[in-house]
Amino acid sequence: MSIFEAKNITKKFGGLTAVNDLSFQVEQGEIFGIIGPNGSGKTTVFNMVSRFYPLTSGEIYFKDKRIDTLPAHKICKIGIGRTFQVVKPLRRMTVLENVMAGAFLRTGSIGKSRHKAEEIINFCNLDKYMHREAKGLPIPLRKRLEIARSLATEPELLLLDETCAGLNPKESEAAIELIRRIRDAGVTIIIIEHIMKVMMGISDRILAINFGKEIAMGKPQEVANHPEVIKAYLGDAYAKSN
């Protein structure tokens, strides 16, 4: 059953078309990857889904309800959480307070929110940093904190924006492991990533875009071997010579 659907979504900034007539469906419980070179429109897609940008045209459905008309803060309430490519920690709050800020979406009680936040912090292996201020954390931990904060809002669909960019292989692996566990806990995931290597291992299906348009969609291996994708990533010649 598809939990999420984007129908012919388009976003124009002035004369520039950042996302061009893109359509895709995401199935309940899958990890759906979106890849593409720098500037291909991936993050714009997320910003459209989370209502940070209004759509120029097209429709977005979540659990069969149209959501592209809701205000941005309602998106989280109905069960779609997101992270940011350039992480946005609540800098002067501790890790615990950051995650509590997320948990308050479903409760008004400090005690409950704190309890829930601690659970999630443990789940994300951040317990050692529970009382550290977010502004002092290194990038890999900030990325993880952002996932934790978003999980605290109890999303059914989680949008992850470049969670592995800038991480070394070991950190990357830990992040992938966390993403898998989140999926196993029943959360559907859409993940954007520039590095295909990361996506190959975890995605059930991948959508490849360039210049805001779909160039391929399917199983990771199919997409990785798709001539258009190789062309977009490595250039013309490579596609021909291989």
Partner: protein, 317 residues
């Protein structure tokens, strides 16, 4: 740790209550009352600007509306200005609604500019609606009570109420949401926080207590005119400096700042004569340059650090 905080608070409260036993001179009582009034305004401003990060340059609007509510009750309806303590805060909240509706559409420095303009508009309106406000002539009342001790305790009660209310707001879900909005509005939105609604939840109590301070001021000083109670420099901007001095986004910072501001002002006035405001300006520059988070704010770093290790609740929230 928490117990120690409570003990400290109780100690402060007791000290404040028995202070009039030792301080008898009306001049000294007058200074204490001014400190209380500024502490109320500062604490209110701190809720909106310190915790929620929406730096208002127009708080004089709320102070002035509060003061004029009390004054006009007497001027036009011959009622006791004490009724203003009820009407003033409510009127301030009412004017806060349109002010919020306009200013919250803007962010950062543009928000600051909009509040500045709105505050000035209020001053000019009150200056020019002479039939209603008596204009630049101002409103003079005959206070029924002259005992400074009375005003001291009344003000102290209001300050306690303001501190308690803001403390409870800040240490609830709302407080977490306000600080989240200050730290990153986009992140806050992504967590499902309706930012405009919560900004209003900071603005309304902030306006309420600032209005209360205004109404109390009318009763105590017994004379107001628009250029005093709606003053951009002497109210709107001064409250920012008072809180900066004491410590932004801390419980006691505004009160500490108010005490410093009034006491230093008096000290400078008596020792330096006309140069007193100049000295104050120099001090403001030095504090912003070298203690960017105010006196309580800088001390707080040590406090928070220790607190974190034990209880894990920071003074930032």
């Amino acid at each position: 740790m928490l117990n120690k905080n409570i003990l400290m608070t109780i100690a402060f409260a007791l000290a404040a209550i028995i202070l009039p036993v030792f301080i008898k001179a009306p001049y000294h009582m007058h200074i204490l009352i001014l400190i209380i009034i500024w502490a109320i305004i500062g604490t209110s401003w701190n809720l909106l600007s310190g915790y929620a990060g929406q730096v208002s340059f127009g708080h004089a609007a709320f102070f002035g509306v509060g003061a004029y509510s009390a004054g006009i009750l007497t001027l036009h309806y011959s009622l006791s200005p004490w009724w203003g303590l009820l009407l003033g805060p409510v009127m301030s909240m009412l004017v806060a609604l349109p002010i919020g509706a306009i200013a919250f559409r803007l962010r950062g420095p543009y928000f600051a500019l909009a509040t500045l303009a709105l505050g000035e508009i209020f001053r000019l309106l009150f200056l020019n609606m002479t039939n209603f406000t008596a204009g630049a002539k101002g409103i003079l009342i005959m206070p029924a009570i002259t005992s400074k001790v009375f005003y001291y305790y009344a003000g102290l009660g209001m300050l306690a109420l303001t501190l308690l209310a803001t403390y409870m707001i800040v240490h609830s879900k709302i407080g977490y949401y306000l600080v989240s909005i200050r730290e990153d509005q986009d992140a806050a939105t992504s967590l499902g926080i309706p930012t405009t609604l919560y900004k209003n939840l900071a603005l309304l109590p902030s306006a309420f207590f600032t209005g209360l301070a205004g109404a109390f001021y009318m009763n105590y000083v017994a004379f107001i005119d628009p250029n005093i109670v709606f003053s951009l420099t002497n109210i709107s901007i001064m409250v920012i400096l008072v809180v900066m001095l004491g410590g932004v986004a801390t419980t006691w910072g505004p009160t500490i700042g108010a005490a410093l501001y009034i006491i230093m002002g008096e000290l400078f006035r008596t020792t330096l004569g006309p140069a007193n405001v100049l000295m104050f300006g120099v001090l403001v520059c030095l504090i912003i340059m070298f203690l960017p988070n105010g006196i309580a704010g800088e001390l707080d770093i040590f406090k928070r650090f220790r607190q974190r290790k034990k209880a894990g609740l920071s003074g930032g929230v």
